[in-house]
Symmetry: C3
Subunit: 512 residues, 3 copies
C-alpha cells in the first residue's frame, strides 16, 4: 500500500511538473505584501483599482510594490538599489502616495484629491527620496539639460525651428517661408525625446461614475523626455527609461528603451546595435539571460552587452570584481562625442552644452557650438586629453572582461581613424556649402532652411554620425557602407555639386 501510494505520488508529481513547464505563460508574479501597504496608498487603490486598473496592475507587479525601502537599504552594497539614507524611514512598500504625495509644496501641479495633497508628475526630485545618488549623477548629464540645450542655444534653436515650423510657399518667388512653431509639434518631435516643459495651465473636471473630480490641466503633457522640466522645477524624467508603473530594471537594461530615441538617421545607436555581433547574439539568446539581477554579472547573467551594460550599469565578473560602477550620467563613460556638431569632438565637461562656444574663423565670431565650420575645436568646455584617456580605459575595461586586449585596442584604434575620416568628409561638404554662399546661391543668415544647406546638414547629422556610430559600436557594416554611411557621404558631395551647378543657371529665372 505504501509503495502504491508513493508510486502514485511520483506519477502525479511528474505529470504535473511536465504540464506546468509546458507552455505555461510565466507571469511576473510577486507576492504582494498586502500588510505593508500604507493606509494612504490603500485609499488610492480603493478607487484606482477600478478607474485605472492598468496602472494598478502594473504597479502590483513592480519591485516598488513588493519591497520596503528600509529593508532595501540593508542589502549588501552590490545588491542595493536605493542610495539615500532617507529611505530608512519608509516602512511600507512604495505605493501611490509614497511618490505622488512627496514634496507637495514644491510642485505647482499639487492639487487636493479627496483630502490628499498629491501631484501628477513625479519628478527626479521626488525619486531622490530613495535614489539620491542616481538623481545626483543624472542631474549634471546632457540628458538632464536636453531641454535647455535646444531652447537656450541659438544655433540649435534656429535649426529645430527651421525643421518643425509650419511652412508657407510664396507662389511668385517659390520661397518657402517659416511660420510658427506649435507647442504640439515641439512636444511630438524634438522635445518628445529632449523633454518638454510641463506647466499647470488651469483646472478641469474629470467625471467618473457621476463624480466630479477636479484635476490640473498640464501644458505640454504627456511627456517623459530625458530633459523634461517638471512642475517642481527639477529636470529629467526617470520614466524615460524606467517606465511607469513597473519602473522595471529589465526594461531599462534592454536596448528597446534606448531605441525609442537613439534611432537613425541621426542617432542610430539602436540600428547599429541590431546589426552588430553583440546584437545578433543578444536577439538569439536573450531568453536565457537574466536582466533583473543586481549586481549584473558578466558571463553569468548576460553573454553580450546591451546599451545599459556599456553605458550605465554596475557590472561585476563572476569572481565578484567590480568591472564598472553604476552611473546615471550616461556621458561619463564616453570620451568622444560621436554625434557631429558639426564635427565629432571630445565630450563636454558638463551637461549644459548650450553654453559651449567656439571661435569660428570663417564667420569670424564666437558661435554656440563645440566645433567651428572648419573643424575648430572649442577649448574651454570639453574634457581634456587626460580625461579622455581615463574614460577610454574605463570603457575598455568592460570590453576586456570578454575580449582580449589587442582585440579591444585595435577596435578603438580603427574608431579613432574613422572619426578623423568622417570629420574630413564633413569638411568637404562644408567647403561646398561655403562655395554656394560665395556664388550667391544660398543665404547664410539661416544655415538650415535651403536645399543646399539641408544636404550639408545630412552630411554631418546623418551620414558622418552614422558612420562613427557604426564604427564605435562594434560593427554595422551595411549601415557604415551603403545605408547611411560612406555611400551617402560620397553621393551627397556629388549631389551638392549638381545642385550648385543647376542653381547657378536658375538664379536668373525667378524673382528672389
Amino acid at each position: 500500500m505504501q509503495k502504491y501510494n508513493n508510486m502514485s505520488l511520483i506519477a502525479i508529481i511528474l505529470i504535473f511538473t511536465v504540464l506546468a513547464c509546458i507552455n505555461m505563460p510565466s507571469y511576473e508574479v510577486k507576492i504582494s505584501q498586502e500588510k505593508k501597504i500604507s493606509e494612504k496608498t490603500k485609499t488610492c487603490l480603493g478607487c484606482h483599482e477600478r478607474y485605472t486598473p492598468g496602472i494598478v496592475a502594473d504597479w502590483k507587479a513592480s519591485r516598488h510594490a513588493n519591497i520596503v525601502p528600509a529593508e532595501a537599504l540593508k542589502k549588501p552594497k552590490l545588491e542595493r538599489r536605493v542610495s539615500s539614507k532617507k529611505a530608512a524611514k519608509y516602512r511600507t512598500v512604495v505605493g501611490c502616495f509614497e511618490c505622488h504625495g512627496l514634496n507637495p509644496e514644491k510642485h505647482s501641479d499639487t492639487f487636493d484629491h479627496f483630502g490628499f495633497k498629491i501631484h501628477i508628475v513625479v519628478s527626479p526630485n521626488d525619486c531622490r527620496e530613495c535614489h539620491e545618488l542616481e538623481v545626483e549623477q543624472y542631474s549634471e548629464s546632457k540628458k538632464a539639460y536636453a531641454y535647455d540645450n535646444l531652447k537656450k542655444n541659438p544655433v540649435y534653436s534656429m535649426m529645430y525651428r527651421a525643421i518643425i515650423s509650419l511652412k508657407s510657399v510664396d507662389l511668385d518667388s517659390l520661397r518657402v517661408e517659416q511660420k510658427n512653431v506649435s507647442n504640439s509639434t515641439e512636444a511630438e518631435t524634438c522635445f518628445s525625446c529632449h523633454g518638454t516643459k510641463i506647466e499647470v495651465s488651469g483646472y478641469t473636471y474629470v467625471i467618473k461614475d457621476g463624480l466630479r473630480v477636479k484635476v490640473p490641466v498640464l501644458k505640454n503633457w504627456p511627456n517623459h523626455g530625458v530633459g523634461r522640466i517638471n512642475p517642481d522645477g527639477s529636470r529629467g524624467a526617470c520614466t524615460s527609461c524606467h517606465p511607469r508603473h513597473s519602473f522595471s530594471i529589465e526594461v531599462a537594461r534592454k536596448p528597446y528603451t534606448c531605441a525609442q530615441c537613439h534611432l537613425d538617421p541621426d542617432v542610430p545607436a539602436w540600428n547599429v546595435y541590431k546589426e552588430s555581433k553583440h546584437g545578433n547574439i543578444y536577439f538569439s539568446k536573450e531568453k536565457y539571460w537574466n536582466f533583473k539581477s543586481v549586481p549584473w554579472v558578466l558571463g553569468r547573467d548576460i553573454k553580450t552587452p546591451t546599451c545599459a551594460t556599456c553605458h550605465a550599469s554596475l557590472l561585476v565578473d563572476e569572481s565578484g570584481n567590480i568591472v564598472a560602477e553604476r552611473t546615471h550620467d550616461f556621458g561619463s563613460r564616453l570620451w568622444i562625442r560621436l554625434f557631429g556638431l558639426t564635427y565629432a569632438h571630445p565630450q563636454p565637461k558638463h551637461g549644459a552644452t548650450y553654453k559651449i562656444m567656439v571661435f569660428d574663423k570663417t564667420l569670424n565670431k564666437n558661435i554656440s557650438l563645440p566645433t567651428g565650420l572648419k573643424m575648430e575645436i572649442s577649448d574651454k568646455y570639453l574634457i581634456t586629453e587626460e580625461e579622455m584617456e581615463r574614460r577610454a580605459n574605463a570603457m575598455k575595461r568592460i570590453c576586456k572582461t570578454c575580449h582580449a586586449t589587442e582585440y579591444v585596442d585595435r577596435h578603438f584604434e580603427r574608431m579613432h581613424k574613422t572619426i578623423k575620416e568622417t570629420n574630413k568628409m564633413t569638411l568637404e561638404a562644408t567647403k561646398l556649402l561655403l562655395k554656394a554662399y560665395e556664388l550667391g546661391i544660398a543665404d547664410p543668415s539661416n544655415m538650415f532652411d535651403e536645399y543646399i544647406e539641408q544636404l550639408w546638414v545630412q552630411q554631418w547629422l546623418f551620414y558622418a554620425t552614422t558612420t562613427r556610430y557604426a564604427s564605435a559600436m562594434t560593427g554595422a557594416p551595411d549601415y557604415q557602407t551603403f545605408k547611411l554611411g560612406w555611400w551617402e557621404m560620397t553621393k551627397n558631395l556629388e549631389k551638392m555639386k549638381f545642385v550648385i551647378e543647376a542653381s547657378l543657371k536658375n538664379s536668373s529665372s525667378l524673382t528672389k
Copy 2:
C-alpha cells in the same frame, strides 16, 4: 525506510523539476483528440501526413485540431470564439475536410480529389460556418474591399499603374513611358497586401510517388491579402492575420502580423509602434504575457497594447468589465483616416471607398477621392462629427484603462493639431505642384508619372502620413522628426522648388 523513501522521493522530484524548467523548449503541445477526428479528415491525413507534413504538424498544434465546435459554442460568452449557431452541428474537431469540403457548389476551385469534392482556397464564406459574426463585421470593412478600392477607383488605379508598370525610355526625348502592368508584379506588390483575384485557369497533374493527381491551376495564387477575391466570390482572407494552418490567435494579436503590410514609408504603423513606449515595453516583457487567453484581460495578460488590443480585440479589465467588444471591422474604432488621400479626413462610412467622391474646385469636377487638391472634404461618404466623437470616446476608453483621463485627452488634442499641421504642409506641396503645371513643367493628365509629381506624392503619402501615425500611436519622435516626418516634409518643399527652378531652364533643351 519510510523516511529514506520519502527523502529520496523529494530529491528525485526536486532534481527533475529543476531540470525540467531549465532550458526546456516549451513546445506547443496539445493532446490531440484522435478519437474526435472525422473519418473524412482521417482520410486526408493518411496521405497528407506524408506529402505535406508541415501543414499537418501546424494543424495538429492548432486549436482547430483540439476542439469540437459544438463544445466551443457552450463556453461562457466572454470566452467563446465561435459565433454561428451552425457550429453546433460539428461534433468532430475542425480538420482538413471540415474546411476544404465546405460549400463545394459555390467554389469554382472545387475539384474531385480521391472521391472527395474539395477546394483549395478556404474563404471567409467557409469560415462563416463557425465564425459568422467575424465574417459579417469584416465584410463591410475597408480591408474586405481592398481589391476593389484599387481596381475600381480611377485615381488609385492611375497611381498604382504609374508605379508598377514596366517602363521604356525614349532616348530622344528621355521621356519615360509606361508599358504594361503584369499580373505577377501586381500580385507581388500592391495586391499582395490588398489581395488578388483568384481564378481557376486550368488543370494540371501533380506527381507524387508515381501517382498522378489532378489539381486546379489558380491564377494570381498564392495570395492571402486582406481583400482577396476568392473563387467563391467572397472577399478577404482570414489567413492574412490568422495564418494557415495554426490560425493562431497569438499570431494575430502580436504586432508582427500587422507589420507585414502596415509598414513604412506609406503606412508606418509598425515602425511607429516599435519606437513607442508601448512597443518598448512589449519587446522587453512580452515573454511574460499571455496572448492566448480569451477574453484578453488588460493588466493581467498584457501590460501594454499591441495593434490588436486597440484595433480589434475583445478586452476586459481584471474586474471582468468589458472595455471593448471584439470587432473584425478594423476601421470601426477609428474616427480619422490618418492615411492621406491626399489629406487626412474623417473615416469613411463604408469599406467600399472606391465610391467616395469629392468636388474638386481646382479641377472643377468630381474626383474619386475623399479630399480635393485644396483640402475640400467629401460630404456624403464620410462619418459625421457625432460618429467621430463616439468612436474617439470608445478608443479613449481603452486608453483610460491604463492612463489617467487628462493624459489621454491631452494626447489626442495634440494629435488633432498635428493632423491640421500636416494637412497644411501637404497643401503647400500641392501649391508648388500646381505652380509647376502652370509653368508648363509637368503634365497634369497623369499626376503620378513625372518627377515633380512624385515628390508631391511623397509629401502626403509618406511624410505627412508618417507624421500623423507617429503622433497618433503614442510617440515615435525620430520618425516624426528626422526619419520620415518634419525634416522630410520641410526639405521636400525646398527640393520641389529646386526642381521647378531647374526644370524651367531645361524646358528648351530637349524635345518634349
Copy 3:
C-alpha cells in the same frame, strides 16, 4: 501521520514546481565535464578565468566544453555534428588549447605563450580537424572568396574605392576627387562582411597584474568576415555565423546572424524576411521552437523556416525522411543570383567570382562581370540550365514539405517573371546612363563616381535587387512596392532624366 506526511510532501512539491516555472530565467547550463578537460586547457583557464572571464563563461556553456569529439563521432549519422575521422583522437572536451594550439607551424600568428605555441586567429583550417566536410563545402563558396572577389576584380574594386575613399573637393571646378582608401575604413565597411586579410605586423606587450605578456599585433583585426584571409592562408571565418566562444548552432540558425550582412539597401534578405509571413510567424512563435536539435525536424522543431532552414541546414520531416542535406556552400541551393551585377543572372559555377567575364557589346571588350551593360550573360562561368533546374527542384522540395505543389510552383513562376521585369527596369536606367555619356554629361572612365552614375548604381544595386529579394523570399510587399522597390525604380528613371536635362544646362557654367 503517513497521510499527513504525504500531503505535506505533495503540497511542498507543488508549490516548488509552480515557483520554479514562474519567472525563472532559464540559464543555459550544462554540466561541465571537468574531468575531461585537457591539462593544457586547464592551464589556459587558470589565468583566463581571471583575465577574460567572459570568454571562459561563454565557452563553458558551449557544446565544445561539454562534448568529447571521439564520442561525438559515434552518434547516429543524422545527429552527428563532426565530420572528420581525425576527431576520433580527441578524448577530452574541445577547450582553449585544442583550437588555439592546432597547426602552429602553419600560422604566422603563432607565438610563445607561457611555454605553449598558440595562435590568436582560429581558422577554418583548424576547425577542419573535426569539421572537415563543412570546411570543404565552404571553401569553394562565394563566401570563402569574398575577399578576393572584391580585391581581385577590377570593376568591383573601382566601385568600392569610389565609395569608401576619402574625398577632396576642388573649389574651382567643384570636382569631387578620390583620395586614399584607408585600411581602417575598408575593415569597417566592405571588408567587415567580406573579410579582411589578417597579418602579423609586429609584437607588443600586454600588462596584466604587473606581468608583461608578449603578443602579436595583428593588422586588420578584429574581423570575422566570411572571406577573411587568415594568418595560416586559409579563407573564411566560421565565427561569422558561429560566434565565439559558444559557437552556438542556435545563433547560426536564427536569422539575426545573417541579418548582420544581408541587410538593405543592397542585400535586403533580412528586411524581406521580417516582412514575410514566414518572418511574422517566426517572431510570434519562435519561443516555442527548438533551434538546437540535430537533425532539425520540420514541423516538430520549427513551423516556418529561418534563413538557415532554406539555405544550409540538414532537414528531415517527422517520419525521418531527409528533405535536404546539410551544406556550408550557401550558394549551392540557389540557381539565380538575385543580386544584380548589373543584372540578375544564373549562379556562378564556383565561388571565385572575380574571374567571371563577359563580352560587353557596348564597351566592345571583355569585362569582369557576369552580365554586360545591355544584359549580355557570361557563357562559361555560370551554371547550366540543367543545373539551375536541379537546384530549383531541391529548393522546392524544402518548400513542399509545408506547402502544396501548385502553391510553390506558382510562387517561383512569379519570381521568374519579376527577375525579367527588374532586369528590364535596370536596362532602362542603363540606357539613360549611356545617353548621359553620349551627351558628355559624365565620364565613363569610372562608372561609379559621378551623380548620374550613382543614381544608375542605385537602380540595380538597391532597387532592382530588393524587388527580386522580396519576390523570391515569399513576400515583402511594402519593400517591393514603396520602400526600395517599384516606386524607387520608377522615380529613379524620372530623376535621372531630370538630372541629365539639368546637367545639359550646367555644362557651360563651370570649368571642368
